[in-house]
Amino acid sequence: MSAAELSLPPRPRVWPRIAVIAGVVAVITVLTTLPTLGGVDIDLHAIARNWGNGAERIAKLFHPDFSILPRTWKPLLETLEMALIGTGIAAALAVPLTLWAARPSNPLVGSRRVVRLVLNVVRAVPDLVYATILVAMIGVGTLPGIITLVLFDLGIVVKLVSEAVDSADASYMEAGRAAGGTQAQINRLTTLPQIWPMFGSQVLYSLELNVRVSAILGIVGAGGLGRLIDEVRGFYRYDALGTIILEILVVVIVIEVISNALRKRLR
C-alpha cells in the first residue's frame, strides 16, 4: 500500500457558509429584539421584579380548585362535540377537494391551480382570526366555532393528502386508464383505496388538533370551554383556571393515546 492512499482527504471548507448563516441569524435576531424598531424588548428586569406577584398566581394554578368542575362538564362536552362535528364535516369535504387538488386524479391544470390557491389562502389565516370575524358576522355560538374548525382542517388535510397522492404509485392509475376507465372511475377504484389509510390518519390528527383549538375558541365567543377560561381569567380565579387546564390536558392526552393506537392500525 502506498503512502498516498493512507493520507486523510482534505477537510471540506464549511466555515465560510456557517459564518454567513450565523451572521444572518444574528442580524435578524438583533433587528427583532430592538425595542426602537418595534421588536421584542427582552426585559429580564421585569421578570426579576414581578416574579413575586407572578409566582403567587402560578402557585394558585398548581393548587387547582376542583369545586368548579361541575360547571365545566357542559362546556367540555360542547368543545368535544364541536371538535367531532368540525372534523366530520371537514373529512367529508376533504375527499372531493383532495382529488381535485392532486395531479394524478385531476389532469386539468386550471382547476387544480384554483383549488390549491384557495386552500393556500385559507391556510394562511389563523384559526382564531376566523373565529373572531365569524362571531362578529353571525353572532356568538357554536356555529362560528364549527365553521372555523372546518376551514382549519380542510387546509391541513387536503394539503397533506393531495401531496401524498402526487407522490403515490401511479401504476394503478395507469392500469385504470389502460382499461379505458374514465377519470372518475380511476379515482374511485384506484386512487381512493390507496389514500384511505393516509386520509384516516390525517383526519384523526386533525381531530386531535380540533380538541385543542376548540377549547380556546370560546375566548372570542365561539362556544366551548374557552368562554369559561375567559370568565375565570377575568375574575383572577387562577385556581379555577388550573383545574380547567388540567381537564384539557387529560382530555387531549386521552385522545392522543387513542388516536395514536388507531393510527398504528391504519398503517
Binding site: E78, I85, R112, I219
Partner: protein
Amino acid sequence: MTAPAISFRVPPRPSRVVVQIASIAVGILLVAAFWNLGIAWEKLATLPSRLGHYGALMFADPNWSKLPEALYQTWRSVAMAWVGALLGVVVSTVLGIPAAAGVGPWWLRLPLRGLFAVLRAIPEIIIAIIILTVTGLTPFTGALALAIGGIGTHGKWTYETIESVSHGTAEAVKACGGNVLEVARWGLWTVASPELMSLALYRFEINVRTSAILGLIGVGGIGDMLTGYTQYRQWDTVGVLIIVVIVITMSIDAISGAIRRRIMEGATVRDVDRSV
C-alpha cells in the same frame, strides 16, 4: 403437455366487518353530537348573504391609510415569532437530544418526554395568559409563550428525528471510545442537523401564524389590531389587516419553504414544478 388450468374467479372479498362496525359507531357519535349541540342552523342559511355583505364591506374599498400601522404591527408579530422560535428551538434541542432513545438514560428520557407531552397539550394562548402575570402585556410575553409552547412539539420532533437517523456514525464514535457528549456532537448532530435546521425554520413559520392570534389577549402585534377593529366593526380596516396577514404569512412560508428544500435536498436540485 397441457397448461395448468388457470382460475379466473375473483378472489373472495376480505372481511370488512370491523370497518363497517367502526363506521357505524362513528356515524352514531356524529349524529349524537349534532343532536346534542343544538347548532343555530337558521344562521347558516343567512351566511352566504352575510358573507357577501361583509366581504363587500371588507374588500370593496379597503382603508389603505391603515396599511403602515398594519405593517408595523405585523413586524412586531414576526419579531415575536422569531425570538420565540429561537428560544424555543435552543431549549428543545438541548432537552430533545437527551430524550432520544439510545442517547439519554431512561430516568432522564421519561420525565423529558412527559414534559413535552404536557406542554403540547396546553394551547399557546393559555401559556401566554399565565406568563403575562409575570412579564405584563408586552411582545416579550408573546415570544416567551411561543418559546415555551413550542418546546412541546419541537422537543418531540427533535428526539424523533434523532431516533430516525442512521446510527452508523454514532456507533463509530462510540467504538472509538467517545463519551455521550462526543457521540452527540460528532455522531448524531452531523447526521441529524439538516433535518433539525429545517424543522427549526418550520417552527418559525408556525410561530408567525400563532403570533398573529396572541394579540387577542393584548400582547401586541397584528392580532391586537384585528380584535380591536373587528370589535368596533371597522370592516374596511379589517379587510386591510386580513390582506396583510395572508400576504405576509404566504411569503414567509414560501421563502422558508425554499430554504428548507435547499437544506434537505442540496443546492443542485432545482424546484421541480411543485406548485402545479
